[in-house]
Amino acid sequence: MQKHRVGIYPLRKPMSDPRLSTHLAETTPCPPARETGRAAQTASSASPALSHPGEADLLARVRDGDHLAFAQIYSLHKRRIYSLCLRMVGNVSEAEDLTQEAFLQLHRKIASFRGDSAFSTWLHRLTINVVLMNLRKKGLSLLSMDEAMEPAPQGTPGRSFGALDLTLTGSIDRMALERAVKDLPAGYRIVFVLHDIEGYGHPEIASMLDCSIGNSKSQLHKARLKLRDALRSCSRKEARR
């Protein structure tokens, strides 16, 4: 594992200075950028490489080993990075471990950030790689042949019901859908989260997962079908009550 020397600075609770909190308050996430990917959308903003005012200075200080600056970078990005991890793994404890690992990777690799893309994009991608690496280490095949080759949930889903009154009719229970996403097999969940929630396009996902674009599309479709089945099952249970 590559390690870099770290400067000696007092360790403080991040964002302890309220002036900095106000100045560098984390913004709400960008809306999904659909096929172009949120990362690409961020990179095309007015300031090509930086997402927050003052971030260039902070990053330069982090490169010089300024721990306080690193703490501020953490405060700026922790929520978005943690939320990304949580969506991808669906487990609080694991998401916190992965958030920790992502920021440690950031600390080690900050020198390799050249500003070619937005910092938030770079960090977002770094985090996704950390999560994917972790899932692979655990032996989870992100695009296992079993999942990829299995028939669509419940055979041909469109004809698994005969009455149209069982459609979701657009009124989807957000909590039920979140539960269903968490319950998806890892391979489906990752593609669904990256595409439908994070806004990455299939070419980017295929590159991240080292699979074909067609495979990415297929996994996404199967994920949506599984979610639909889960939601309909949930609706039926509600209807029986």
Binding site: R5, V6, R79, T167, G170, I172, L177, E178, D196
Partner: protein, 93 residues
């Protein structure tokens, strides 16, 4: 008309064929609601409507959350540990 051509004719698609092509169709620029198969098949229309609803609802899932404070404590601790491993002279001081 060859079998292949027949399969690609939207009007003559069976439900199986339409649903097999859905992953490709949904990601395309094509206006699926105008797809000829849907004019004659309410079941596939309902399937498509559900998938679209799920995709739209996905944008509102998992609002931004805050990690616990222990995450930062552990990061600091790990950085200190790495510093120690990398710089034994500092430890001696």
């Amino acid at each position: 008309m060859t079998e292949d051509t027949k399969c690609l004719n939207p009007k003559s698609l069976t439900c199986d064929q339409f649903q097999t092509r859905l992953p490709e169709l949904i990601g395309s620029e094509e206006n699926l609601t105008a797809h000829p198969h849907l004019h004659q098949c309410p079941i596939c229309g309902a399937l498509l409507a559900d998938l679209v609803s799920i995709t739209q609802a996905a944008h509102m899932l998992f609002p931004i959350a805050e990690p616990s404070e222990s995450v930062w404590v552990q990061i600091e601790s790990a950085i200190e540990e790495e510093k120690g491993c990398l710089d034994p002279e500092d430890e001696e001081k």
